[in-house]
Amino acid sequence: MHKMLRDERAWAVALLLLAALIPVVAPMLDSPATVGLATRIVIYAIAASSLNLILGHAGLVSFGHAAYFGLGGYAVGILYAHYSSGEPFLGFIPGSNDLLVTMPVAIIVGGIGAAIIGALSFRTAGVQFIMITLAFAQMLYFLFVSLKAYGGDDGLAIRRVAPVLGMNLRDAATLFWICLGLLAVWLFLMDRIARSRFGRVLAGVRQGERRMAALGVRTYFYKLVAFVIAGMGAAMAGALMVNYLRFVSPDMMAWTKSGEMMIMVILGGLGTLLGPVIGAGVLVTLEYTLSGLTEHWQFIEGPILLLVVLFARGGLMGAVRRLAGRRVPAPEAVPHGELPQAQKPLGEALPEAVRHG
């Protein structure tokens, strides 16, 4: 029993089951809008969890994750726009308002986007990788801002979505349960991947690229595949967000959104199963609650984030585990002062060479 309580997976199952009750409990407490809040949290949890695969498990700091979130969203939005106008996209791809069509398209688009951006970005490492992923995300952001046909900065509204398997997506509870179900599936996948051979390679990439090379592992394609999976997860979340908001705008791929996702992951706990979920829940709820208390909510939120960094290493999951008396593995995603990967062997060789002279 005690062992079960320590297992993150057991907690995840319990949390998801409890969450499933929200649409039942919320109206009883005269707070039906809580369902919408919870939907938003669940969607961000999927996005944050997808980012966690590369950020937490593989230690690859992507500062452009919102790009895939937005790509997924725009895939749904653009297909809907063509559905409602009746003109096919690019002259031959018919539009759609059916989530069973748009969601897979969104996931594929997100995956392709991540594959292209990742293939180029993984030529760099360290801080340069952070910045190049940001650069690509910004390029996409400005591209969508300037796409007049799809609303530009003002975005696209999605008015009528087809029911999915007889379920009405306009019903808040139904949409919430769909999102929650997908979160459950996603977390299950993430858990499998983290424990698989593939996941072991990612853990190796995080802890020592040099060791991985000495083991004979070409990390490039593992990193790229992880990046693509993460991109697909973010795109799925983006598609859900657009279904929830019934609206898509470039705001979804702004750099601040990428930052928010990173903060969710770090806040919750890097490389943990539940960390991103908790992080998303706490951040969204915190903003929601504080902005209801005072219009100067950012003045309070800022120091709270600061305190979490200073005093809760390993994020909230780290704090929880410490309270539970468990050792916290603190994954150093980008070790302080680390040299870019290409220079590392030289880094070790140099002192010897210097002493030589």
Binding site: S196, R197, V201, G208, M212, A214, G216, L346, A353
Partner: protein, 253 residues
């Protein structure tokens, strides 16, 4: 010579800015041989290992492994051909257990890792060879399940060796496996290497001369990146050039 050397380094040169770290280095390791590479601090031993492994690109010269040129191959490609190394400063996955570190090496050897489903920590195909390697490297069984961050320095050195062994190498490059070890730990490591000797050819970089002279079949002496002598341990002991090199080092310090 009838035998094809396992490793042949020919006229290797590497410069860092104005410093010549490797200066026309020639070196051969024969099948079954334990070849020691010694020399004063800063002689360029680690740089040489880095080039043999493919982590540092030499400016000039050739490296042949099993008779085939590997000078332009990447480190992973050389590993695939059977090279493995240990690090002077241990490069281990600190969050993982000792067993998981070795299992990852087994996994890397077992082909691609694009396997997303099965729990690697319960995969007997990884665990059994990993445990065999741990056994071979002499790491006490009780330490296998501990995170690397929690085991001692000496045990980490043994774990480094186990990781290298797990990739079933055709040759081992050992970069100061005894560095920082206590006397009894050094002896234990010497014994482990002695058991491996003959089965796997080894290039051993080491400062512990007792260990070197008791283990090595031949020694090469590196000074300022250049090999000044290559002989049996006895021959090296009495080589005037070597004595001079070590003495001048003493004076300089």
């Amino acid at each position: 010579m009838a035998e094809v050397p396992v490793l042949s380094v020919q006229h290797l040169v590497k410069r860092f800015g104005g410093l010549t770290a490797t200066d026309d280095l020639n070196l051969e390791v024969l099948p079954g041989e334990l070849h020691a590479l010694i020399g004063p601090n800063g002689a360029g031993k680690t740089t040489a290992i880095g080039q043999i492994m493919g982590e540092i690109t030499p400016d000039r010269g050739r490296i042949l492994f099993m008779g085939e040129e590997v000078t332009r191959l990447s480190a992973p490609a050389r590993v695939a051909r059977g090279l493995a190394r240990t690090f002077q400063i241990t490069q281990l996955l600190e969050d993982d257990t000792a067993e998981a570190n070795v299992a990852l090496a087994v996994q890397a050897r077992a082909g691609h890792s694009f396997r997303f489903w099965r729990d690697a920590s319960r995969d007997a195909r990884l665990l059994e060879p990993a445990r065999a390697a741990l056994e071979e490297a002499g790491l006490p069984r009780a330490r296998w399940a501990l995170p690397v961050a929690d085991i001692s320095h000496g045990e980490r050195k043994q774990l480094e060796l186990a990781v290298a062994l797990a990739s079933r190498p055709r040759m081992l490059l050992l970069d100061e496996p005894m560095a920082g070890l206590g006397a009894s730990e050094s002896l234990r490591m010497t014994e482990v290497l002695r058991r491996l000797k003959g089965r796997i050819p080894m290039l051993l970089v080491e400062h512990d001369m007792d260990a070197v002279f008791s283990l090595a079949d031949r020694c090469s002496v590196l000074v300022y990146g250049h090999c000044i002598a290559c002989d049996t341990p006895d021959g090296i002991r009495h080589d005037p050039q070597v004595r001079a090199a070590y003495l001048s080092e003493e004076e300089a310090v």
